[in-house]
């Protein structure tokens, strides 16, 4: 009799765990909101990175002007989007001998989606491809095209209205970027300010 009761309670516990798991999955689909209301139609986020740099072990590349244009919308209650433009200007490296000859985003638009990890909202950008040609007579990769590819996950803050990409956000979202088949580090803070119909309205993700 006691065994039966134990079996039932074990089954109930397992069911509870399963329910909890499904509950987590269900919450992993946040939407774009403006003034607390779910976005209908589409909107454009246009901005410039507050700070952004990418590091291939041994060398860091920074761009003084890292601009971006992202079209956002909600599909079946989930925030989606596309990075449509990404002009990069005044890029430099921390190496005395390597300069950035050319840099540019390739194969735009890049798809994006919102997700929730451990109850925090994240934006995932997929299909990233940035080509960099370094120059410099003494630079080891002078004239060689270095291509950055992969997927990036950034933590969205509803308080500061920014998306922050760093090692922690990449780990949390299980994303990574690679250059020369090497995992590289990309750090950056990107304001999520609307530029079209919802301009100056408070943007949030939940």
């Amino acid at each position: 009799m006691k065994t039966k009761a134990t079996a039932i309670s074990t089954a109930l516990a397992a069911l509870a765990v399963l329910c909890a798991m499904f509950a987590t999955s269900a919450s992993a689909a946040p939407a774009w909101k403006f003034e607390g209301k779910s976005l209908e139609g589409s909107e454009v986020i246009l901005g410039a990175a507050i700070d952004s740099q990418l590091t291939i072990p041994g060398m860091t590349t920074k761009c003084a002007n890292f601009l971006y244009k992202v079209t956002i919308k909600n599909e079946a209650g989930t925030g989606k989007g596309e990075v449509t433009e990404l002009p990069l200007y005044e890029c430099t490296t921390n190496s005395e001998v390597c300069s950035v000859g050319k840099i540019g985003a390739e194969k735009l638009p890049w798809a994006s989606k919102l997700t929730t990890v451990s109850s925090s909202p994240y934006i995932i950008i997929e299909g990233i491809k940035v080509g960099i040609i370094y120059t410099g007579e003494e630079c080891a990769v002078d004239g060689t095209l270095v291509t950055v590819t992969g997927t990036a996950g950034g933590l969205i803050s509803n308080v500061t209205e920014t998306a922050t990409f760093d090692a922690a956000s990449f780990t949390a979202t299980g994303t990574s970027l690679k250059a020369m088949s090497t995992k590289i580090e990309w750090k950056g803070v990107f304001p999520t300010e609307a530029f079209e119909w919802k301009r100056e309205q408070a943007i949030s993700v939940s």
Partner: protein
């Protein structure tokens, strides 16, 4: 007086000899730090643009039925010229000491008789087979050698880091060594070389081989961006064909060579594989030159 004169002459000669040694020392490259690996790069040659140094630390070469693991490091070094815009390949320049591809003998498992114990065999069985079949008399070593001049090597840095197409094309021959095989037992020759077209991408070989993938490796800039080092760069090719062995057994070649060929089995394309796991370093010639000039 005579004795004193002789002493003066001897001292003068000694001084001249020392000065000559000193000058010889000045002419030799004195690279420092991570640049020392490029000591044999022809960076004083006008057409050289980059220095290349690659050490194969592991991998394997499968030639027909014979699989030879790479257990001892093999070095490929020299210089690379300007990139041909159309092919994206650079011409290769030989190492200054003449050792463009180091001749490193690798042990052929199973030796002359080709008896290799099963992986599940007891340790003692493996040890005994190794002792009896892989000793100095019955053991066979296999050495990779360049079959043609270093200028016949082609490299593409774009393809190496881009993990696509051929990154390194190299004409080679394989020397099989053993007291019975003599000194001229080769698979491949200058006129009929094995052509390796190694890639860090994925191969598309004829059957029975299946596609295999390489890898560009993990890159790191050294010396403030002057050197790029790719660790675990995996270059692969399993589409190459090899001619039959020749010259094995000295005067008994007519008897021994056919035995060696039957031991190797079919060596047509689709039956051979080369997997080379390397640490590849490249640097701009000007950076190496500058390091040399800064350290006379």
């Amino acid at each position: 007086m005579q004795k004193h004169k002789a002493r003066v002459v001897a001292t003068a000669l000694l001084a001249v000899a020392l000065a000559a040694l000193g000058l010889a020392g000045t002419a030799q490259a004195k690279l420092t730090g991570a640049f020392t690996r490029f000591a044999q790069c022809p960076y004083k040659t006008a057409d050289v643009r980059k220095c290349l140094h690659s050490v194969t630390n592991s991998g394997e070469v499968v030639l027909g039925k014979k699989k030879v693991p790479i257990e001892k490091a093999v070095t490929l070094q020299g210089g690379a010229g300007a990139v041909d815009e159309a092919t994206e390949f650079s011409k290769f320049f030989a190492a200054t000491n003449g050792v463009t591809l180091s001749k490193t003998p690798q042990n052929v498992p199973g030796g002359l008789l080709g008896i290799v114990p099963d992986a599940s065999s007891p340790f003692l069985v493996k040890l005994l087979i190794k002792f009896f079949l892989e000793n100095s008399l019955t053991g066979v070593s296999s050495t990779l050698e360049l079959a043609k001049a270093a200028t016949d090597i082609k490299v593409s840095e774009f393809h190496l880091v881009g993990e696509e197409q051929v990154a390194l094309e190299m004409p080679i021959k394989v020397r099989l060594e053993n007291p019975f095989l003599g000194k001229n037992c080769y698979v491949g020759s200058a006129t009929n070389p094995i052509i390796w077209k190694l890639t860090t991408g994925t191969t598309s070989p004829p059957g029975p081989n299946k596609p295999i993938s390489g890898s560009g490796g993990e890159g790191e800039f050294l010396e403030g961006g002057r050197i790029i080092e790719l660790k675990n760069s995996k270059l692969v090719d399993n589409s190459w064909s090899a001619p039959q062995a020749t010259g094995c057994g000295g005067i008994l070649s007519f008897l021994v060579t056919p035995i060696i060929n039957s031991q190797l089995g079919t060596t047509t394309a689709g039956n051979n594989t080369a997997i080379l796991v390397n640490t590849v370093s490249t640097a701009a010639k000007s950076a190496v030159n500058k390091n040399d000039e800064e350290n006379p």
